[in-house]
Amino acid sequence: MISIAQDAQGPAVVRPWLEKAGTTFRTLVDQHNELGKAFLLKYVPVAVIVDADGRLVRPITGVNIGDDGFRAELEAWATTGDVPAAWRDTEAPEHRPLSQGEREADARLQLALVLLEMQRTKEALEQLRLAVQADPENWLIRKQMWAIETPGAFYDGPVDYAWQKAQRQREDEGFLRQ
């Protein structure tokens, strides 16, 4: 088991979660969203599950680790090596190149990271807003924009999902409507 944190803000925001959870497995950090881009993923959590030969036993799609059914499948596979039928039958995601909007969103995310490193947060957020405009359904970018702009809704106590819902509505009716 290897965990991969999709966090543009880097290790500093990841480590507290690992300490709190007391993890014993290795965690890597994908600060530049390399995997999100490579696999065309726009949300987490997602699992990449491979056999001893390095081949996928399940398409790269979302998972719910809290789902009892998925946990049972995972445990059965880890124990016996038998690939669950539900995994084999899962349809592979569409094969396609990044669209123009997706490419622009990624480039603006990378530029925002440079600006964040320079502590030019206001300009970074403007780039992230443009990225979200280019690819509004990319939640890897959109929610990280929120986390940078309003850290209290994410890092002070439980994640504030009511705030997220309201923020989404504000944006959908605001700068994303234009």
Partner: protein, 168 residues
């Protein structure tokens, strides 16, 4: 091939007096660019041959008579013609105005406070549509605790689960 925009040529003018050399960073990595890119007031000028080689686009003499174009032959098959006011020859090097061809070829850039030109290019490297039995591409990312770059290949000799999550 799609060819876009030729600008009206203007007389070349003396411009070297106010140029500021810039360090160069490509995709977040400090990269050698020789000679250096230059900033003059609001414009950034790049040595065309070296810049194109570094960023995987192609500089072409499109008509064989000196009409330069910056082309992306890999994905879009797009060429951007450079007008006389978009190029300058200085001491044997042809510089191009970055803003003349940046957006159509997917370049996004900024000049940082430390005098570095930071350039990002929209990526086209994707591995979508992978299904059961396919091998995922190499995963190489830093360890969150040590910063050490770790290749996930080392885990490919045994069954493994890579779980992608986030703090937000």
């Amino acid at each position: 091939m799609r060819i876009f925009g030729i600008r009206n040529p203007t007389d070349a003018q003396s411009w070297s007096d106010f140029m500021v050399p810039l360090k160069f960073e490509l995709e977040g990595v400090r990269t050698a660019l020789q000679p250096a890119a230059q900033q003059q007031e609001g414009d950034v000028w790049v040595p065309l041959e070296a810049f194109c080689a570094a960023t995987d686009v192609v500089l072409k003499d499109i008509d064989g008579a000196g009409q330069l174009a910056v082309c992306d032959d890999s994905g879009g098959d797009v060429c951007i013609l450079l007008g006389a006011d978009d190029t300058r020859d200085v001491q044997g090097t042809t510089y191009g105005r970055l803003s003349a061809f940046d957006a159509p070829l997917g370049f996004i850039w900024t000049v940082r406070d430390d005098g570095a030109l930071s350039v990002i290019r929209r990526s086209t490297s994707v591995h979508t549509g992978l299904g059961v039995g396919d091998r995922p591409p190499k995963i190489e990312l830093p360890d969150v605790l040590t910063g050490q770059l770790v290749s996930a290949d080392v885990y490919y000799s045994k069954p493994a689960v890579y779980y992608m999550w986030a703090s937000w």
